[in-house]
């Protein structure tokens, strides 16, 4: 078995690395854009407008209460139908699905972050004459962001693992590499062990970095 693993690494090393690159790229895109969507949706959910509030709630609930794989299928088939002119690649459709998914989870992270900022902060800012939006951008969001930074990083770790579902559509991520290599070599356990180790090393390292960051933030208080 060790000999097989060595052989696979020598022959398909680049494939595994490419797969890792695609996995990380997918995770980065979903979390980065998901963050922006999440912040907007969180503000909508906390706004006084009933309409904005309902739209945001509907979005987060639908995403959070249906399986990710279903959402991937949905976007995979729906987006090219909806926008045929754009000739969207498989990768784009999957990335969009992941962005929407992570946006919903990020909005909950941001919402709890915003709510964790003491009301007195808003009152003090407003009593000085700051407008509602100045208070949000200068006082509430900077503190909320600091509170949610660790949770955001955890979401990144979670998304990194969830991208493995994208392999259903052969988008070239780490899990896709497993499927192709396993198909070519008729080996199952060995390539599985290799990508398992890669997933583990990457997410374990990220978790440790997050823990360090969390300690740094705490001591900065």
């Amino acid at each position: 078995m060790l000999a097989n693993i060595e052989r696979l690494l020598l022959k398909y090393g680049m494939n595994f690395l490419n797969g890792l690159g695609t996995t990380l790229l997918l995770a980065l895109i979903s979390v980065a854009i998901g963050c922006v969507i999440g912040a907007l949706v969180a503000i909508m959910r906390l706004s006084r407008s009933k309409l904005l509030n309902s739209i945001a709630t509907l979005y987060t609930e639908v995403i959070r209460d249906t399986p990710l794989l279903l959402q991937l299928y949905f976007f995979y088939f729906m987006l090219p139908d909806l926008l045929p002119a754009l000739r969207l690649s498989k990768f784009t459709c999957i990335a969009v699905a992941l962005v929407f998914n992570s946006g919903a989870y990020m909005s909950e992270v941001f919402r709890s972050g915003i709510q964790s900022v003491d009301r007195g902060q808003t009152e003090a800012a407003r009593s000085l004459g700051l407008s509602a939006s100045q208070t949000l951008t200068r006082i509430v969001l900077p503190q909320a962001f600091k509170n949610v930074l660790p949770a955001m990083c955890n979401e990144f770790v979670a998304v990194t693992k969830e991208t493995s579902l994208a392999s259903t559509f052969y988008v070239g991520d780490l899990m896709t590499q497993y499927q192709t290599i396993s198909g070519k070599t008729y080996l199952v356990i060995e390539p599985l062990i290799i990508i398992g180790v890669i997933y583990f090393v990457v997410t374990f390292t990220m978790s440790k970095l997050i823990a360090m960051l969390e300690r740094r933030l705490k001591s900065g208080d």
């Binding site: 007195g120 009152e123 003090a124 000085l128």
Partner: protein, 252 residues
């Protein structure tokens, strides 16, 4: 001894007319009519739940009044169409829990509002903030994060943060209630100095000794109305209303 100044002849600063505030079915303010004159130092006392903090917070509309009028600078700021932000600039407020901005340095806490609202340039605001900080003995703390300050230091910072906007009136909401006993004095001293320099102050407080010493007028609130009011000597030594007598017998 000089004759005490008659503030009822001073210009009006805030005139409150028939102010009501309900929280659901609970009537917290049940019709308050009161005038605060320029230069007056007024304290609001009364049992908890009597509506004194709510009354204070209605003055700059941190609480939205249910009905009534609040005339300030000739404008009814209880009117919802009024741009309240403009008027809040002229009403400093100090809170029980300080509400210092923890993500900014001490001096940035002070300069934020004046520069953001275009009242002062960065340099002006900084110079003014340093002068204010030295007045309350915090100049050496100017560049640190306020999370490292003691409660008393935070409250002194909160006071000068409000003063940096050059308000016409300062509203204090139980400014010493969250402080360790040994820090109460340093904060009260700052308020006393303000009062001596003719800053109009409205102070919700449980410090009866302080109210007696510093204030020109004491308002006793109970059940959402002002039951009795008068000069401190009169109200503390010869309370007329049975509820005032009852309250004072418990706290003095």
């Amino acid at each position: 001894m000089t004759e005490p100044f008659d503030f009822s002849k001073a210009p009006e600063l805030i005139r409150v007319e028939d102010l009501h505030k309900d929280f659901g079915s609970l009537k917290v303010l049940a019709g308050i009519t009161e005038t605060i004159h320029k230069g007056e130092v007024v304290s609001l006392i009364g049992p908890s739940g009597s509506g004194k903090s709510t009354f204070l917070r209605c003055l700059n509309r941190l609480e939205e009044p249910t009905s009534g009028h609040i005339w300030f600078d000739g404008v009814d700021i209880a009117d919802k169409s009024v741009d309240i932000d403009k008027h809040r600039e002229k009403m400093g407020m100090v809170f029980q829990h300080f509400n210092i901005f923890p993500h900014m340095s001490v001096i940035d806490n002070i300069t934020l509002a004046p520069t953001l609202l275009g009242k002062q340039t960065k340099d002006e605001a900084r110079a003014k903030a340093e002068a204010l900080l030295s007045r309350v003995g915090l100049l050496d703390k100017r560049d640190i994060k306020p999370t490292r300050l003691s409660g008393g230091q935070k409250q002194r910072l909160a006071i000068v943060r409000a003063l940096a906007m050059e308000p016409e009136v300062m509203l204090f909401d139980e400014p010493t209630s969250a402080l360790d006993p040994e820090m109460v004095g340093e904060v009260l001293d700052v308020i006393k100095t303000l009062a001596k320099n003719n800053m109009t102050c409205v102070i919700v407080t449980h410090e009866m000794g302080f109210a007696r010493e510093v204030c020109n007028r004491v308002l006793f609130m109970d059940g959402g109305v002002i039951c009795e009011q008068g000069a401190p000597e009169q109200l503390f030594d010869h309370p007329q209303h049975p509820r005032t007598q009852d309250f004072l017998s418990k706290v003095l």
